[in-house]
């Protein structure tokens, strides 16, 4: 059978075809992927039309069901969380460049992705959001309960603690059961996870297996993880997937978040597209209704994108149409004849590298910038660049000055010592714990209406610890190398300088540097936390002695 004319498909989607005509058409759909795709697209269109003529555009957020959510009320919590995230983003943005020891979120649209993710989870994945939120809330409640129980325990001994633990456990059990009910999970350790073309999954699905194949229809969100992930069906919520080979040919009404060695998308995406991988291809068939953010070694952009594009990587070919602006941080870039970017094109390329633009490419205003720091270049080339060295020197000097000022104000801060490996790893763990506690704590505090300034303060403290922590470590390294004590101001300055130089060299090394940076920050924050705890217990002891 030849493909039916599109008006018949349209009538079929609107349930307007009489059964005698619908039957052969359905038979044809089984064998024709092209018509199936058109039917899927027509269904999406029908949904937009229903919203449009029903005057429900733009689609307002889903009203929270009564009784859903924990004490504080999810709407308030969500907006507060968003505010805190935006605040944290702004905070990171406002920090001068040399002061960022650790900023993996830079330039990759990761911040946008996180915010988008938070909203996507809240809107379309309410059960999981509730669950995660409940866990965080539970942790906070447990913390408070612990202090209360501690106070109680002085009078009633163990009973208070036992009660708190029981309360926490029963809460967790109730929540876990609720979250489980709304999401179906399919797992397979070795074999294949498959959702057939005739299957329809009402809620959200989590699929994990060596190979994951989705041909059916998922009404909610889809989380897919496997060595090979192939999604040819229709996902009406958001898609989160990761695998070695990721292939998307179906349609996704929400946003796509995917990562893999080899990511190839030729699907229709209603929301945003976030992709990361070694080879990332948005082929000519792909349509994206929102923004696109890509991180890649080798990227190809051929489809049609309704809004902005941001891309970072080594080598990029652009052949598709972008609705508005485009920003690229790449080593090499080629615009083919069919490339269209009506808005601003911001190109960050290494010095001396020129973009290849075909005569037929229609680009708006092209703005050429020098790629700073040379992130996508080979590490050795990067180190030999003047810009990079200058940045490290500024970092060194600023850290040194801050260290000296801190020593003058509070020399106790640098008294920590790392005698054993246990202490070293203990500090790393404590640092991780302290940072996550501060982050979650900041968000939780921010969720109460009055708490926003306090939340900003908490996040500021976090940022400060991230910067100061490594300086404290540098001081220890320097003192160890120079075999000096804490006593003399001059001695400390020399030790700090030596330590900082060693550390800056360490974090500038290729590959090792990134790991070193992370360990360094965690170690530093952990040591600062130790010091703070010591200081606090000493003060309490002093007070007790005074009394």
């Amino acid at each position: 059978m030849t493909c039916p004319p599109e008006w018949q498909l349209s009538a079929y989607v609107d349930a307007g075809l009489d059964p005698a005509a619908a039957k052969p058409l359905e038979l044809h759909l089984v064998s024709c992927a092209r018509c199936r795709r058109r039917v899927v697209a027509l269904r999406d269109e029908a949904r937009v039309l229903r919203d449009l003529v029903g005057e429900r555009l733009p689609a307002p957020p889903v009203p929270a069901e009564a009784g859903r959510g924990i004490a504080l009320g999810l709407p308030v919590a969500t907006s507060a969380l968003a505010l805190v995230s935006f605040g944290a983003g702004a905070l990171v943005e406002s920090v001068p460049r040399p002061f960022r020891w650790f900023a993996p979120t830079e330039e990759l649209g990761v911040m946008n992705m996180l915010v988008d993710l938070a909203f996507a989870v809240r809107n379309n994945f309410a059960a999981w959001f509730d669950f995660a939120f409940a866990l965080a809330a539970l942790a906070a409640v447990a913390g408070v309960a612990y202090f209360a129980a501690d106070a109680l325990a002085r009078r009633t001994r163990a009973a208070g603690r036992a009660a708190a633990v029981l309360l926490a456990l029963s809460c967790a059990a109730a929540l876990a059961e609720r979250a489980h009910a709304e999401i179906s999970i399919r797992e397979s350790d070795e074999g294949e996870v498959r959702v057939g073309a005739d299957e329809h999954i009402d809620g959200s699905l989590v699929a994990m297996g060596e190979s994951v194949t989705i041909d059916g229809n998922i009404a909610g969100d889809l989380l897919a993880f496997g060595k090979t992930v192939r999604i040819a069906g229709q996902v009406e919520g958001n898609l989160f997937c990761a695998g070695r080979d990721v292939e998307l040919t179906g349609s996704v009404s929400g946003s796509v978040h995917c990562a893999g060695m080899d990511v190839r998308a030729s699907s229709a995406v209603g929301g945003n597209f976030y992709g990361a991988g070694q080879d990332v291809v948005l082929d000519a068939e792909s349509r994206v209704g929102g923004d696109v953010a890509l991180a890649f070694e080798d990227g190809q952009l051929e489809g049609e994108i309704a809004r902005d594009v941001i891309g970072a990587g080594e080598d990029l070919t652009v052949a598709g149409r972008v609705g508005r602006d485009a920003t690229f941080h790449v080593g090499e870039i080629t615009f083919l004849d069919s490339a269209v970017v009506p808005g601003k094109v911001e190109l960050h390329l290494p010095e001396g590298e020129e973009p290849t633009i075909a005569a037929g490419a229609a680009l708006g205003s092209v703005e050429r910038k020098i790629l700073e720091g040379g992130a996508p270049q080979t590490p050795l080339k990067r180190i030999s660049q003047f810009e990079f060295i200058r940045r490290q020197i500024v970092l060194l000097v600023s850290a040194f000055l801050v260290g000296i000022v801190l020593f003058a104000l509070a020399p106790g801060m640098f008294s920590a010592r790392v005698e054993t490996a246990g202490r070293f790893f203990g500090a790393v763990g404590t640092g991780l714990l302290a940072l996550s506690a501060l982050l979650i704590g900041g968000c939780l505090i921010g969720m109460t209406i009055v708490g926003l300034p306090a939340a900003a303060l908490v996040l500021f403290v976090m940022a400060a610890m991230i910067f100061i922590g490594p300086i404290a470590v540098a001081a220890i390294v320097g003192r160890t190398v120079m075999r000096s004590g804490l006593g003399d101001f001059r001695e400390f300055a020399i030790a700090l300088g030596v330590g900082l130089i060693l550390l800056v060299i360490l974090i500038s090394l290729p590959v090792v540097g990134v790991i070193a940076t992370i360990v360094l920050v965690l170690e530093g924050v952990g040591l600062l936390t130790f010091e703070a705890l010591d200081w606090w217990s000493e003060r309490r002891a002093a007070r007790a002695a005074a009394a």
Binding site: P5, E6, W7, Q8, S10, A11, D14, A15, G16, L17, D18, R38, A41, L42, R43, D44, E45, A46, R47, V48, L49, R50, D51, L52, V53, G54, E55, R56, L57, P58, A59, P60, P61, V62, P63, N124, D202, G203, A219, G220, E236, G237, S253, G254, A268, G270, A284, R287, G289, G290, A306, R307, R321, G323, D337, S338, V340, P342, G360, A362
Partner: protein, 209 residues
Amino acid sequence: MAARDASGGSAGAAPLRAVAATGPSSPLDHAGLVSHYGEEVLRLCRRMLGHAHDAEDARSETFLRAQQAAASWDGRPVRAWLLGIASHHCVDRLRRRALEGRLFEARDLGEDDLPAQAASPLSLLLARERSGQLESALAELPDKYRAPLVLRFLADQSYAEIAAALGVSDAQVAVLVFRAKARLREALAADPRRKPRAQRGEAERRESR
């Protein structure tokens, strides 16, 4: 998302669902009818007729007719019954407005003259974010194409019901609805902000490949 729509998930639909739950169960309760369905009937009339002033008129006329016809109510859902009256009335008005009282010409209804290459259905999906543009594209649609679209997607009528209201056959409704969709897509795909005019030829060549 479809699941949410079906359950009346968006805020616009939520009150309607509430109405359906508590609205009058028979058209004999005229005051209840007006207070529960007044808004929705007005929205349908406004969409069908395109003028706010005419729509007010059409609404009062609808409820008047409903009162007169209440005795002959056949027991189907009150909302569908009422929207049916409203759409018949609006179609009458559109006919009066049209040349020689004919809403459709023969070539609107034929399958042979359909656009050979309609723009992709995705252009609507992609334009969802720019609701103002969708809105104006809908408003600029000729009455003869907007009417079936509104009956299908606002009043939720089946092709058979639309055919009865417009006085055409079921298959002709399919053609009309498709023409309406194609027109909308075209209006959105031709939007100068998305696709510079000079690039369109090339873009279409690429699509047809």
